[in-house]
Subunit: 138 residues, 2 copies
DNA sequence: CACTCAACTGAGAATCATTGTCAAAACCGG
DNA sequence: CCGGTTTTGACAATGATTCTCAGTTGAGTG
């Protein structure tokens, strides 16, 4: 047993590979939600290609670490976006995809209260608001 | 043009076929969310088989008419459930899938207000609350 | 530096939900 | 019963995501 891990339960720290850095970097270059496929293409165009499977794996990893928000577009495709580290929700333009991060203590309180009323514990929630943004109101 | 429709814009009324009735009926037999595939199997077991494609088509139709709620399971699969005809949200048990319909004028107001503040129109929203129900709190 | 080994990668195959196709069947009003 | 329309269902096609697995890479070691 030549392990160098601290004695406890050992989850190996992920390696900072070129591919992972590349994905992390492109995620900082746009502000709206993009699909894994689009991110894969972006990387290719930027001359820093990463295999599609790796893009998927990396995005999942980042999502697990709360480094990106994941949500499902209306047709079920998973889409990703970098996000601030505080809990928040999104106001998304149905037409152009523009996104605004919003927060509201009131909603947070309401969801906890409702769940509590019904005896639910370990409560979490998802909330997305869709609409047409001013720019698209041609 | 031999149409018998009233002169205006004509969207033909859907026919109440055996298949559509069968789907509508089976939707009343359970209270939680089920995938189209599961619903298709249920129908088969109940000796009232409906083609998978038709199940999908019918569920979409019912969703368009707000006769069923649609939401996406975590892996992107569309799942369906009969629901009351008023706008509401769901409190879902992560462990056993038990569902409670909840409403809250406060949230409705909040989402409209937020969207309005940012100049968004045609606003809609999705909100799901997840937790562990009392029964599963073994 | 050369070595070792698990973590990591990527090309392509495999999955799997969902949608498209289209000829045959069911309906409906007349 | 007739003609036109809608609906159905078996099957193919699509498309995102996951799996496979052999080859690569990186970090720690002596
Ligand atoms: Zn817009
Ligand atoms: Zn929240
Ligand atoms: Zn439960
Ligand atoms: Zn609402």
């Amino acid at each position: 047993m030549t392990s160098t891990e601290p004695a406890g339960a050992g989850r190996a720290a992920p390696r900072p590979t070129r591919q992972r850095r590349a994905v992390a970097r492109v995620m900082t270059t746009f502000a709206d939600f993009r699909s894994a496929q689009e991110i894969h293409e972006l990387l290719e165009q930027q001359g820093d290609p990463v295999g599609l499977a790796t893009v998927y794996r990396t995005l999942q990893l980042m999502a697990d670490h709360d480094e990106v928000d994941v949500l499902r577009s209306e047709d079920g495709e998973a889409i990703y976006r970098r996000c601030s580290d505080t809990h928040h929700h999104h106001l998304v333009c149905r037409s152009c995809g523009a996104t605004v991060e919003v927060e509201g203590p009131a909603v947070e309180r309401w969801t906890s209260a409702i769940a509590g009323d019904h005896g639910f514990t370990d409560v979490s929630h998802t909330l997305e608001i869709f609409g047409t943004c001013p720019a698209c109101r041609s």
